[in-house]
């Protein structure tokens, strides 16, 4: 007796499925190879990322709904108080800015006197975090500004307190940011008090970064502020990074153990600035 119709179809579907698996595996190996070896696939990724926009909208929906509700339901007095607070803050900030105009002018004049190139202003782009890496040991986030808004690889990302990280991959509607606390991240820093230069490494905790290979007699103490040194050309000069909160010397060890706490709130990031450096400040090391 021949096989019943259903059995035949199931079996042929099964074989069909196996060959589909083979094709998928071959394709994915090819894609992984290309992505690993060279950057051929960035264009493709970029185009696919355009379709991921609805996904980011969905991820942000709860937060946005919550914020909207808070705004509409929020008591009037609270809003009035906040408004007043913001007004006073605005006044103090704008008076500080007046000083900055003066300083900038003076700085430019001095640069002219020295006949060196004046530092041009950085451009800031406001972005929001839309996704994070599901692996809790990878400190990587995705922000909602991409090449459409002129955000490109290696631009610096900061919040109102300090440096957060830099862009490692740009797509059309979003870009991936490596945080300074990721175990694969290192940032060249300078101690504001002494001018000592070093490199701060991420160790996979949102509260700590580490300064390695500082000799025991190094002049460094708790409360020292770390700024970006601008060496390496990756980060702009003079942005706050972290504050030293632990310096300890083990007996018999040639180096100090130095820990610093990042200024930026890396644990729950909301809004960030992407700093786009003016072109002629980029240093050519070759």
């Amino acid at each position: 007796m021949p096989l019943s119709g259903e059995a035949t179809t199931t079996r042929s579907r099964g074989q069909y499925s196996a060959s589909k698996l083979l094709v998928s595996l071959i394709f994915s190996f090819g894609l992984m190879y290309l992505d690993h070896k060279d950057q051929y696939l960035n264009k493709v990724r970029s185009y696919i990322s355009a379709t991921t926009y609805p996904i980011y909208v969905v991820t942000n929906a709860p937060k946005n709904i919550f914020l909207n509700l808070k705004e509409t339901m929020g008591q009037k007095e609270k809003i009035v108080i906040e408004n007043q607070r913001l007004k006073t803050e605005n006044i103090t900030l704008s008076s500080k800015i007046q000083q900055i105009y003066k300083l900038e002018k003076e700085n430019k004049r001095l640069h002219d006197l020295l006949d060196s190139k004046p530092k041009t202003e950085d451009i800031f782009v406001l972005a929001e975090i839309v996704a994070e890496n599901p692996d809790p040991f990878k400190h990587r986030i995705i922000i909602n500004k991409g090449s459409k808004d002129n955000v490109h690889v290696s631009q610096t990302v900061a919040d109102s307190r300090g440096i957060i990280g830099h862009v490692i991959r740009d797509q059309i509607f979003g870009s991936e940011v490596l945080l300074i606390t990721d175990p694969e991240h290192a940032i060249p820093i300078e101690v504001a008090r002494t001018g000592l230069r070093s490199i701060a490494l991420g160790i996979g905790s949102y509260e700590k970064i580490q300064l390695s290979y500082l000799a025991v007699n190094t002049d460094i103490q708790e409360g020292d502020i770390l700024l970006t040194s601008g060496l390496g050309g990756q980060y702009p000069v003079g942005y706050p990074v972290a504050i030293i909160d632990k310096v300890s010397a083990q007996k018999g060890e040639p180096f100090l153990e130095v820990r610093a706490k990042p200024f930026a709130k890396l644990r729950n990031i909301n809004e960030v600035w992407v700093i786009q450096r003016a072109v002629d400040e980029a240093i050519d090391f070759e």
Partner: protein, 159 residues
């Protein structure tokens, strides 16, 4: 025909939602308990609707997951198409399993998926191995009965 379109729409809507749930920013203490939503949905659709969801669909949603997460291009695609194939291959058996065996097979497939993704990451960069990352997998297998019941219910209500 109309029903098939509705079915497909439902499948892809759920896949998109699980893809976004998988990367939604969470507070730090919750980030250790993130079930692998995307792999769960792929297993669900390959077991329950094998006619409308195959290896290639899993491959494409995997590519999307790679882009969304910023991992190596093709890594999740490979892992997901493999577990989609396995769940399809055994879908008739898994469907009639008692619940604990079903959960066990889901756990095995989630583990396989995670191992593949880890292994592929290890090629590219330093692998971060930690036992805490398996919490999400175990949680994923534990919530499988609720997940399955919820999706089946939703499906019968909508379609």
């Amino acid at each position: 025909m109309n029903r098939q379109i509705k079915n497909n729409l439902f499948t892809w809507a759920i896949l998109m939602i699980s893809c976004s749930l998988y990367v939604v920013p969470l507070p730090e203490f919750l980030s250790f308990f993130r079930p692998p939503w995307l792999s769960l949905s792929v297993i669900f659709f390959s077991i329950m609707t094998p006619a409308g969801f195959g290896v290639f669909s899993a491959f494409f949603i995997g590519l999307l997951a790679d882009v969304v997460q910023g991992s190596i291009f093709g890594g999740h695609a490979m892992a997901l198409s493999l577990i989609a194939y396995l769940s399809y291959r055994f879908h008739l058996q898994i469907r009639v399993f008692p619940m604990w065996q079903m959960m066990l097979s889901v756990l095995l497939m989630l583990l396989l998926n995670e191992l593949l993704v880890l292994w592929i990451e290890g090629i590219k960069e330093q692998m971060t191995f930690n036992y805490i990352r398996w919490l999400g997998i175990v949680l994923g297998a534990l919530i499988w009965p609720i997940f399955m019941a919820f999706l089946l219910n939703l499906k019968s209500k909508i379609l």
